[in-house]
Symmetry: C2
Subunit: 505 residues, 2 copies
Amino acid sequence: MEIKFTLLWFSLFTTFSFAKIITPRFPSSIINRPEQLSVSTNDQKGLYKSMFFTQTLDHFNYNPQSYDTFQQRYLINDTYWGGAKNNAPIFVYTGNEGEIEWFAQNTGFMFETAPSFRALLIFIEHRFYGQSMPFGGDKNIAYKNSSTLGYLSSTQALADYATLIIDLKKNLSATDSPVVVFGGSYGGMLAAWFRLKYPHVTIGALSSSSPILLFENISSPYAFNNIITQDFRSESENCYKVIKGSWQQIEDIANQPGGLEVLRKSFRICENYISASSLEGWLQTAYIYTAMTDYPTPSNFLNPMPAYPIRQMCKAIDDPTTGNDPFGKLYEAAVVYYNYTGEAGQCFDLADNSDPHGLGGWNWQACTEMIMPTDGNNEESIFPASTWNYSDRVSVCQQIFNIEPRPTWITTEFGFHDIKMALKRFGSNIIFFNGLRDPWSGGGVLKNLSKSIVAIVAKEGAHHVDLRFSTREDPEWLVDVRRREINIITKWLSEYYHSLAHHSH
Amino acid sequence: MEIKFTLLWFSLFTTFSFAKIITPRFPSSIINRPEQLSVSTNDQKGLYKSMFFTQTLDHFNYNPQSYDTFQQRYLINDTYWGGAKNNAPIFVYTGNEGEIEWFAQNTGFMFETAPSFRALLIFIEHRFYGQSMPFGGDKNIAYKNSSTLGYLSSTQALADYATLIIDLKKNLSATDSPVVVFGGSYGGMLAAWFRLKYPHVTIGALSSSSPILLFENISSPYAFNNIITQDFRSESENCYKVIKGSWQQIEDIANQPGGLEVLRKSFRICENYISASSLEGWLQTAYIYTAMTDYPTPSNFLNPMPAYPIRQMCKAIDDPTTGNDPFGKLYEAAVVYYNYTGEAGQCFDLADNSDPHGLGGWNWQACTEMIMPTDGNNEESIFPASTWNYSDRVSVCQQIFNIEPRPTWITTEFGFHDIKMALKRFGSNIIFFNGLRDPWSGGGVLKNLSKSIVAIVAKEGAHHVDLRFSTREDPEWLVDVRRREINIITKWLSEYYHSLAHHSH
């Protein structure tokens, strides 16, 4: 049995797969998608105002096109700010690969800590996402080909952030206000890199669930799926075994006459399209993203889900009252991810390519610099055994973008081979948070690198759970993680103010 | 009296002026230029071998042209290397704006310390200089216009160095060999920035005479010329006064019928061209570059010169035996710079545009990111009073390259506003050397920024004198400076080896 999902994990942190671009085999959404996730272009809940900054297209070259500009969106909330006169702090979220509003709405930690820090809140949208589109704001042009998409890179994004923050502080007459940067996932990588590359712009970074070691051979390409395997196994050995065995069962039945129709019925797949591999991709998406968002309280990040959703999936699979039909059990597990609110339509559309959070640019990033080996599966894996194969990536990227990845660039620019050696006596003030139930923690910094470049690890945590809005039901370990983060940030600020007081300009 | 030499100081560290491109008013060389300064394309003196590395044109973008490559030259000397097995160190010179051989030949410090450190020596040529020419190695294409010159930038150069060093170490199986970077002048800025941006590639930087604070309003635009004034004044008040008064005298005589011919005769200027301002530029060049290279021993960096050449200039001016002809005295001062060896031809050609060290690309850099305000002159200045005027720069750059400078980019990317605040708790292992007779020290780091980001200041020192080959006549303070630098580098290495021994990969 060979299941082709080598490309499945390309789309870091996103709800849909790279593979979709090649062929509509791996959709993740359903017809009549509930609207509660869609981000309106208006400011929501009074949390922030949208602003725009005229940004330079290319910071590192000086050819004529480099001087082009675009409107970069940022969100601002000054409700709690102590003001420039008091040198009150500025908290900046370094936006990741999607609509900035979506990230802001899932980063309650900044809103909740702003009042006591008297902080100004800024969320900056990443170039080529949301409304921050170069080339006249026209996504069709910006995404047309590699000549325009070429300007979508992490180094340009970091330089955008530096440029915007410096200008904003100048305009606010707040040049002495300390800036702390926050980010989760790819945004967390950007936050950590930003502190390392622009220490004159930010005094510290909270880098949450950033798989910053998941490049080249620094981390194992099996780590990601091993963690998912372990997540399910820790709930129930039977649950793990049922899922692990299901791939062959799906292949077997799909190869029988009328077998695909049986599968269609079992999983309520729409009439327009089905194949064994697209169905498998649909199930894998559910397991992967549920592992990422295995939060201790009900959440609505990727999809609306209950607390500890893996437990709910395994409950459905282990349920003795539902008989022996494995597909029925798998279906019930899948709907924990796809239809927990029961508002889904009549069927699930495997050909649906919708992208409600505007995450599509990640495919380009995954074909240029973000070469993160995640899709190895050993014999124990809950997914079929497979090896990470770089040449597969290359050929897909050639096919789609006519481009060759630069797999060693990220480590050339940002390091992290022998990170401890490099940072033991260099740099300061970074928190790396990781939740060990999050598959991305397989590429995270899990140990302190120095006195002030520290790791906070939560055994029960999932993907940047620390950054989420708190709830009454939050477990004690999560309250404790946030308390520790607040204490560290407090220390950075007090050291900064101490230096400022003893510093003559 | 108004003398237009606003553009004179554009060409940081170079022997000729930006102004030459607009109009041949400010040549610096003479007919029949002595050949001893010209760099042969062959390896000289067995000091090194030339090698080439296939380098990426654009590290920060992914458009089709970014994938172009070019051959980047580097010089290598492995005579003293202790080898990969011993993790013996690698000393890298981060090349500046000219032929790399010229810089190598003037960086004896690395050759002289290599044996005791058992170091491999590498000198990397900066893109767009010497033989490291993008666009097929053809300088005519590379320098054609802003579409090609656009790729000449400091950030691209730093990424070149990181890429080349990582690849070289891999090829030598020397990934654990520590790298120390060295540079003087603009190369010193690159060395310091390289340590700050690529701490995973280098363990420390010796940044010599790098005017890293000479951007925006961080340093005074009068600092540069104040130091030159002080250099001459410290030798003799009369010498300073004669030079200071000469500008008006030259103007006066130039405005008389036949006056220019008098000047031509006094200064042995060739028949082809003369004007008051070009003559003034010729004299200013002599004073400025003599101040920069006011070394305690005879040297041949910009031109062959005696020890303490400012003293020799002032001796000529103060000499009571040469009567009262101020032009005759000024001429004798000028030849200390232009013709110390007496090998000059019959006359000095004010229209000569020769560029023996290939420094011409600096004009582009001075029109894009290297906006360093140096040409303010207060009332006390040895040069006519003038103010730094950014808009003059803009209009010249528009005229020549049709380009707008980005005057805030360097501080956005590298910081150095409030440098002490930023680096007090960030970064490590940088030595900033400055000699206070060097006008560029007006933009240098003259105080320790932290325990391991330290300033070494030599009151009697000139432009990166510490990096030069030592001589028997070196004064004690210079021997001491080098001893301190060696001790600090020794400490970096021993800390590195200690960490390596206690580090598991």
